[in-house]
């Protein structure tokens, strides 16, 4: 079953400390690949680089910035393929971001 691990942490800090933290992140991704469970994943640019689109009553609105005003933003994601939620939670607990912010675990709903 596929699960998405959505990483939320303090966005400014995440971007500022990226270089220092990358080795830990790569090591984490690498063991998931070695375990044969890794499907896909990426880090995201800072939330201030976001633009948000919505269409209301036929009119398109574009807003500068992320969808919600918050300190913690989506900073990246991993998709893993594991037998069940327990296994997904065990991998989420190893994510370096779990110790700094939070990692949301959601089952993928195939189209």
């Amino acid at each position: 079953m596929q699960y998405m691990l959505l990483i939320y942490e303090n966005d400014a800090e995440r971007v500022a400390k990226m270089d220092e933290r990358m080795p830990f992140c790569s090591a984490y991704v690498e063991v998931m690949k070695k375990a044969g469970i890794y499907v896909d994943g990426h880090r995201l640019r800072g939330a201030d680089s976001a633009a948000t689109v919505s269409v209301v009553e036929g009119r398109t609105h574009v807003l500068d910035g992320p969808y919600a005003e918050a300190k913690e933003h989506l900073g990246g994601y991993h998709i893993i393929d594991v037998p069940d939620l327990d296994a997904a939670l065990a991998w989420a607990a190893r994510c370096p971001s779990a110790a700094r912010g939070r990692v949301e675990v959601r089952p993928v709903w195939p189209l």
């Binding site: 830990f24 090591a27 375990a35 370096p96 779990a98 110790a99």
Partner: protein, 416 residues
């Protein structure tokens, strides 16, 4: 009776809850086989106490008061479920027994051991036994238990409910097994208690109060079993093992909060009183003359603790003990620890050779200590490139940030 203000009544009720919860659940459940019903009845009784006690004062025997209130509720619930014919006598018996226990001056019988045996019954799925103990004997809620075992709270709640209804429907007995059955059944009780302790121990910083608490609760359960079964060497062995480990808790972090591995710990920072208690327990256990897994593991700890006097762990003894443990359990984790001991007694190449023999074991593939040990031995054998790779895997698998930093630094040192 003295009037008490709300705060102190709440404190008294909470103290009684903490001390008596498991005992009262056990007493009721052992007579109804209905763990969930006993829990519900008691939580109602505690709620009533918070209303009643501030007005009429804290009763002289709070446990008996709670039991009497809980009894009404438990009997109601039990009556709803059973057919009229079979229930009448049984319920009368329960009511009489509860009244007798509640009114007599002698303490309420301690059925917690029976409850522990029911929780760890072979018919109960292995993975839910420790959570079940935490909930029924210690009163932890499903969300706390779920977090501790890394299971979503909703899923944990369902599993606990299922396990409790299995106890009731399958008629799992609430009793201490007969002599011939006891060793095997006790082993599953001890395994579940050790699982509780290990969850708490895996938070070396002790920064998460919730998990540190689990190590203490594991020791508390270990003490309970050791006191109720004082002639069972494995029960003593497990308590000794947990005390040895707990004695080193604070030494696992330096003043800056960084991780300190066992080999670099200052033995003076270990808790001498806990070690002395563990040594005495292990001695008592070995005098009974029936060796087992927990006594052997405690003996390994004892051989490490020798460092306090001699400055060096007794690695020859550790190797022998792991040989015995491996023969007994066949566990890949024991085989890994044996390889680490071999590296000390016969050199890193011998240790590495033993690790190579485990390389294909799928159970170790995602096990951080395997990769950390492999990295260390590769480095000591002069194979820096392979050591760096193994350290990288250990870093990726480790959930604790301080340990992750430690492994990362070890790896970085190899590059220069």
């Amino acid at each position: 009776m003295p009037r008490a203000d709300d705060t102190s009544v709440r404190e008294i009720a909470e103290a009684v809850a903490r001390r008596s919860y498991g005992k009262l659940v056990a007493f009721l459940a052992a007579r109804t086989r209905d763990v969930a019903g006993a829990e519900d009845a008691l939580s109602d009784a505690f709620a009533s106490a918070l209303v009643d006690w501030p007005a009429s004062g804290v009763p002289a025997n709070p446990e008996a008061w709670l039991l009497t209130v809980a009894r009404r509720k438990a009997i109601d619930a039990s009556r709803r479920r059973r057919t009229r014919l079979e229930s009448a006598d049984h319920l009368k018996l329960l009511a009489d027994e509860v009244d007798a226990a509640a009114s007599s001056a002698t303490p309420i019988p301690d059925d917690r051991l029976a409850l522990l045996f029911a929780c760890a019954h072979p018919a109960i799925e292995r993975g839910i036994r420790a959570p079940l103990m935490l909930q029924t004997v210690l009163g932890f809620d499903a969300a706390v238990v779920g977090s501790a075992f890394l299971v979503a709270p909703g899923a944990m709640r369902q599993r606990l409910v299922r396990a409790k209804s299995k106890i009731r429907q399958a008629g799992i007995p609430f009793e201490v097994p007969e002599r011939e059955e006891l060793p095997e059944r006790l082993e599953s009780v001890l395994d579940a208690i050790y699982a509780v302790f290990s969850e708490g121990w895996s938070d070396p910083a002790g920064s998460e109060a919730r998990r540190r608490n689990l190590a203490e609760e594991g020791i508390w359960l270990g003490r309970l079993v050791a006191s109720l079964l004082p002639d069972e060497p494995e029960a003593l062995g497990l308590l000794a093992l947990m005390l040895y480990a707990e004695a080193r808790r604070d030494a696992r972090r330096d003043a800056q909060g960084e991780y300190v591995p066992l080999a670099d710990q200052d033995p003076a920072a270990w808790d001498g009183a806990a070690i002395a208690e563990a040594e005495a327990l292990l001695l008592r256990a070995s005098a009974i003359g029936a060796i087992g897994r927990y006594q052997l593991e405690a003996a390994v700890q004892s051989a490490h603790v020798v460092r306090r006097r001699s400055g060096r762990a007794d690695w020859a003894a550790i190797e022998r003990l792991y040989d015995a443990l491996l023969a007994l359990t066949g566990s890949p984790v024991v085989a890994l620890n044996r390889a680490i001991a071999l590296a000390e007694t016969r050199g890193p190449a011998a240790g590495l050779e033993a690790l190579d023999a485990l390389a294909r074991d799928a159970r170790l593939r995602d096990y951080q200590p395997y990769w950390a040990a492999r990295a260390d031995l590769l480095a000591r054998c002069g194979n820096g490139a392979a050591a760096r790779e193994a350290y990288e895997r250990a870093v990726g698998l480790e959930p604790d940030p301080a340990v992750r930093r430690f492994l990362h630094e070890r790896r970085a040192k190899l590059q220069h």
